[in-house]
């Protein structure tokens, strides 16, 4: 449904079956489908975990934690059933990659959760897809049914004597549910409020059982690692950053789209060569490199390699792969305000620094953007945001604070241009529009 794009620099691993009709299980089988899980059935669990560890695969949801390491934390023995949970609640602004995986290659996710299950000793998995993606939930339901019909799921899979079940589950609209402990709460039929850790999900997760939670792109990478080998996958990217990423180019860019590029691909090249640069004769002002929660980079900070470690070194995060490009016609104060409205709306309200902090920041930014800001607000915003960092149950508070600190720090001049009595310099004369206030 969503348009596909391509570029010669792409290395198609996760996206290799996009546009090839792989939602059809027979077509999927023709393209090495379900070979990886059969191979994994012949491997020791530790060998699977080591293969994934050695591949350098790191969590594609944003945290960038080693997937193999995560799997190794699941206790071997457990009185309660173990689970694999696929996080397909994709809702980080700027991110639209899991959508393409579910749309074009749903069986790769099924295979991914199966291999994860074999590695940690789980016998069932849940694939959680956000409520807005109803058509993808339908695609996934059909894929799961087809896999059962072929005997790939259920009892005695591939004649191995082992059983494995995969279930689909739909959300109903909540960014917060993308956080792993909130995701489990939601799957258990509750409000998506994060759980305090420890215990970590690997030890006490879904219904109290040890649970591995991975992003859809992470899981879709796993079958390719099992088939192609850890060494091949690791070599695609720089050290400790194996494989590729689905980068979602969006915003003020000539050729937006989801491109699969090797880890460590240069951001400047990504914007100007892959994405075709900034259209309409405009100049680049800022880039949000990994979804709304990542601190922005200014135009002179974009010569950075897009792998977890290099982007962290540059003071931001690789995040979820959502590269949002902002040109010089855009008002950063308004952009910061829209970002904060999002976090304020999505904060679950469970802990005070996030609930109050996002609300104060939003109110300050609304006032600022409408011309009622005062000088001390600028430092107050930074102070407020800095005091949210690390003081919340889940990373939503950090996700709201980090971009705000960067906007204020890197674009202070633009905030000053909005001081009391001065209309927003970016709005057309006489048409000072406010971002409509969310009434939720």
């Amino acid at each position: 449904m969503a348009d596909l794009v391509s570029h010669p620099d792409e290395v198609k691993v996760v996206s290799r079956r996009f546009g090839q009709g792989a939602t059809n299980i027979d077509r999927y089988l023709e393209m090495d489908g379900y070979k990886a899980v059969q191979k994994a059935l012949g491997m020791e669990p530790d060998a699977i975990i080591n293969e994934v560890k050695n591949s350098g695969l790191r969590g594609r949801g944003g945290a960038g934690f080693s997937t193999g390491m995560k799997w190794s934390f699941v206790p071997k023995q457990s009185a309660k059933p173990k689970y694999v949970l696929c996080n397909g609640d994709e809702s980080e602004p700027g991110t639209c990659k899991d959508r393409l995986i579910f749309e074009h290659d749903p069986h790769s996710v099924i295979e991914g959760v199966m291999i994860g299950g074999l590695a940690v000793g789980a016998q069932s998995a849940y694939i959680y897809i956000r409520g807005e993606y109803r058509y993808l939930l339908n695609i996934m339901q059909k894929a799961i049914r087809d896999a059962y019909a072929k005997g790939f799921l259920g009892k005695n899979i591939f004649g191995s004597g082992r059983d494995f079940d995969v279930y689909w589950h739909g959300g109903a609209g909540a960014y917060e549910v993308g956080e792993e402990s909130a995701l489990m709460e939601s799957l258990e039929g509750k409000r998506g409020i994060p759980r305090i850790r420890p215990p970590f999900p690997a030890v006490v997760g879904l219904w109290g059982g040890p649970t591995v939670i991975n992003n859809a792109e992470t899981l879709a990478s796993v079958p390719h690692i099992i088939l192609g080998g850890a060494e091949w996958f690791a070599k695609i990217g720089p050290p400790k950053n194996g494989g590729t990423r689905l980068f979602c180019l969006s915003g003020n860019i000539a050729k937006p789209g989801v491109y699969e590029l090797p880890m460590g691909y240069n951001l400047k090249k990504m914007i100007y060569e892959v994405g075709g640069g900034i259209p309409n004769g405009r100049e680049l002002k800022a880039v949000v490199p990994g979804g709304a929660s990542c601190p922005c980079l200014t135009a002179d900070e974009i010569d950075v390699n897009m792998d977890f470690d290099s982007v962290a070194k540059a003071g931001s995060m690789l995040g979820s792969g959502g590269v949002v490009v902002v040109d010089d016609a855009q008002c950063i104060v308004k952009f910061a305000l829209r970002t904060m409205k999002f976090y304020q709306h999505e904060s679950c309200g469970w802990c005070i620094p996030c609930r109050e902090g996002t609300d104060w920041l939003k109110k300050t930014l609304v006032r600022f953007h409408s011309g009622g800001g005062v000088m001390k607000d600028i430092d107050n915003m930074r102070y407020l945001a800095e005091n949210m960092l690390g003081r919340t149950f889940c990373p939503l508070g950090d996700a709201a604070a980090m971009p705000t600190i960067a906007f204020v720090k890197k674009f202070r001049r633009e905030f000053e241009d909005h001081l009391e009595g001065r209309p927003c310099p970016y709005e057309e004369e006489g048409a000072l529009q406010q971002v409509p206030v969310m009434a939720h």
Binding site: A2, R134, A172, V326, C348, Q433, V435, P436
Partner: protein
Amino acid sequence: MQHELFDCPMAQSLNRSILMKFSDEFETRFAEMVPHYPTKRSALVPTLLYAQDEVGFLSDEVIAELAERLDLPVLEVHNVISYYSMLTTKPRGKFNVQVCTNISCLVRGAEDILHHCAKKLGVGHKGTTADGLFTLEEVECIGACSWAPAAQVNYDFHENLTTEKMDKVLDEYRRKATQ
């Protein structure tokens, strides 16, 4: 009822025999879904959305019915509903026009799309047109960032929007409704 101490009196007063009847499709899916989980209530969130799709909103009857089926107090079901942005206890139009104004859409003119819809439909955020056809809603990121600006009408994505394209989209839904 299992949790009568916590149940709201309104739900208790409802006669079981007059509670909701859902479509066969709903019932088949519900029957398939519940055994997927070790606890019944785990089916709650997707079930609420499927029920809402049939009825149009989560009425007291729907809530009482699902609470009964999943062994939950009505209050707890309300508690869950209030958390999820797609769930609503208020009726809305046949077509829910959800315009994303989050960052990727914002920088590509999403506000123009939203204001255009508001003007054309004559309603604001969460407002419903007098003929009950359209509800307008400004929503958070819907995962269409690379095809911005974008909107969803019910579950259908409409992408790379311009005000002209949005007009056509709305006209098409109006035509569908009046056919």
